[in-house]
Symmetry: C2
Subunit: 406 residues, 2 copies
């Protein structure tokens, strides 16, 4: 065993989360460091989905909307996610994709200042959808969209209606201070829309305590809800009564079954519902969340930071350029390395049984889910990474470049 | 056997689709006449979804986006639906809810006339979401929304940018002439956005031949895609290059994996993609469509009309007011009766094993999927309906009113 592997064995032996790995289905021999793109399959999901298909849909048929609680699922599952982001019940709703939720939230946020001309300020380096959607909303509502790397400066520099920011940067893994940035936005008269995609489930969040206005996030990364599982929107209670959303599907109506001609938004978080939600994906997420019922996100965070520290140290020793901040409080739960041949290097790694992903043009990304990633995984991944790069065998042509999803 | 049951037995014996019922899982003893709300479970779905969860997600993990074809699913499944609506390949994309698709399509339709001030004309009696979404789009883009029962008159009466209409009315079952109404809209300088929800899978559609511009529809009714299965959007090829959609998620980008800061819409129907689609629901729909691979929708339509005729005749004889048009060409695949106590009558029917639904305030709705509804089902349903109403036992308090979904 190498020194790193010995260290890893010690750290794993002392890991308070070591036995959580059994709550996930992970293929033998694979080192999976892409749970920040698609989380591993939680053990309860397969049987639950089987029941939803065969019994609920197959025998209850349309009665499932009542008898199996399908109708209430968006708010019920929303509340389960709420407990993981520090939201009291009644402020989180599940459904649709993050792109759709973000569009809905951004329009509503801008509409909180109908008379103003304030800009939408958003992160220059963030996940593409966030910028695309901000541009679309700015165009529809006649607002300027400012992309910046320094939100504090932008808030000082001009009239800002909405600050739309990501808690953890999808590329670098940089974590932002939600509490401080939210306060700065409020001081400047802006509302905040946080994108929690790369944070939820990986670290404790306190949206209520941080006085967040609106937030959206996805559930298929650290929450392991399944490929494309529904996203969520958080709306602070103080904003709900006036929330003016553009996606006025009938599920968000105050009396959906009256089927009235005019839209009247539901009270509470139910107005964040849009159309009929994809129930199989929704209930797979519900089953996945069973894993989180007794999770302590402070413990998860502590281990996640040690995993990151371990990986950063190992990658640094091997001569890689680490672009993720070193300071624990400025890190999320993935670590990114820069390499000019990132795509073939990752292809070679995947071929060797280590799954991470690439963000163009030159970023190798490795995500750690403290519930199932071990220090031993990281020691082996680092050894293979070093070997693949040092030997130069990643240059062999048979490695295909493959896209993977956010 | 009553005369009606004898007739039904004869009709079932001559039914060319009789053996299709075995392609669906239907509980014994239940008469299911709500497949126009949630279609019955197709036989191939359970095993397929099981494989998607356990093998694709569980062992392929994020590689599923490539190795299992997840990334291509929205267009691939879109093309499968395309064959059922008369669309050549490359014009139909699957994903999101009908509400979201309709919003996206309506904004794009209005934007085809950026200089005009033309109204959005839509059906006064249509499904609520369609009206709510039209109002929201009208407000965002500064266009009047006109609700009417007579689209031809509205097209003659003023400047119309977009005609948004439903092929089959969700409440009355009235079918509109897509070819004629599309031509009238074009003659008036308007584009059409058809809502195919209550038509797709139940009758042949010819969106290409009818020169339709845009269409949306859901897949959980006659297509049996499962509760909340993803909707679809059709965009005629001639409109694709200029299509200016507001929901600019990264899946619709021309180079999604380049993760560029600026949005550049993909060529072709891929620009109709939004965010990451709910893959379990998507692939359940894919499996459901296997049932339709060799279906002849002209045969389906012929049987559907005979089922409707049979039900209308029986209900009329029993003294019910039928609000669905009698003329075959003006009917979809459900029949609606008016009764002042519609809710308790339906509750009693469901209690007795006949599942239909209610549209407020006073409409009893019965849907027929020619692939699994038999004439015998209808004869028994009519007998039970007559007994429930004549005896007055539907007035008993223990019957609860239950909502069901479109």
């Amino acid at each position: 065993m190498s020194a790193a592997e010995l260290d890893a064995a010690e750290l794993d032996a002392a890991d308070p989360l070591a036995n959580w790995r059994a709550r996930f289905v992970l293929p033998d021999g694979l080192i999976y460091l892409d749970g920040n793109s698609l989380g591993a399959l939680p053990a309860p999901v397969a049987a639950r989905v089987g029941d939803v298909v065969a019994r609920q849909w197959g025998t209850d048929l349309v009665r499932g909307w009542n008898d199996d609680g399908w109708w209430q699922a968006p708010e019920r599952i929303g509340d389960r996610i709420g407990t993981l982001i520090g939201a009291a019940p009644g402020q989180t709703v599940t459904g649709d994709s993050t792109s759709v939720q973000l569009f809905n939230a951004l329009v509503a946020a801008v509409r909180m200042w109908p008379e103003g001309a304030g800009a939408i300020v958003t992160d220059a380096g963030q996940f593409p959808t966030d910028g695309y959607v901000a541009d679309s909303v700015g165009r529809l509502l006649g607002r300027e969209v400012v992309r910046t790397g320094d939100p504090y400066e932008a808030l000082r520099g001009g009239e800002v209606a909405v600050l739309a920011w990501s808690t953890v940067d999808f590329r670098t893994g940089q974590r932002w201070d939600m509490s401080g940035l939210t306060a700065a936005a409020h001081a400047a008269g802006a509302v905040v829309v946080w994108d929690l995609c790369h944070a939820v489930g990986a670290l404790p969040l306190r949206v209520d305590a941080d006085d967040v206005d609106l937030a959206v996030g996805c559930t298929y990364k650290y929450l392991s809800g399944g490929p494309g599982s529904p996203a969520f929107m958080y709306v602070a209670r103080r904003h709900q009564a006036g929330l003016d959303l553009p996606l006025t599907g009938w599920h968000g109506h105050s009396r959906p079954f009256a089927m009235e001609a005019g839209y009247q938004a539901a009270d509470g978080i139910a107005r964040g519902r849009i159309g009929t939600p994809p129930m199989l994906s929704m209930l797979a997420l519900d089953a996945a969340l069973d894993v989180f019922d007794d999770v302590d996100l402070d413990v998860v965070r502590a281990k996640s930071l040690r995993l990151g520290e371990f990986f950063i140290a190992g990658a640094g020793e091997a001569g890689f350029e680490v672009i993720t901040p070193r300071e624990p409080e400025r890190r999320g739960s993935h670590v990114s390395l820069r390499h000019p041949d990132a795509l073939p290097v990752m292809a070679a790694l995947i071929e060797a049984g280590v799954i991470g992903d690439v963000r163009p043009p030159d970023v190798l990304r490795f995500g750690f889910n403290a519930l199932y990633t071990s220090f031993g995984d990281l020691a082996r991944a680092l050894a293979i990474l070093g070997e693949v790069v040092e030997s130069g065998r990643y240059r062999e042509a048979r490695f295909q470049v493959r896209p993977t999803v956010t």
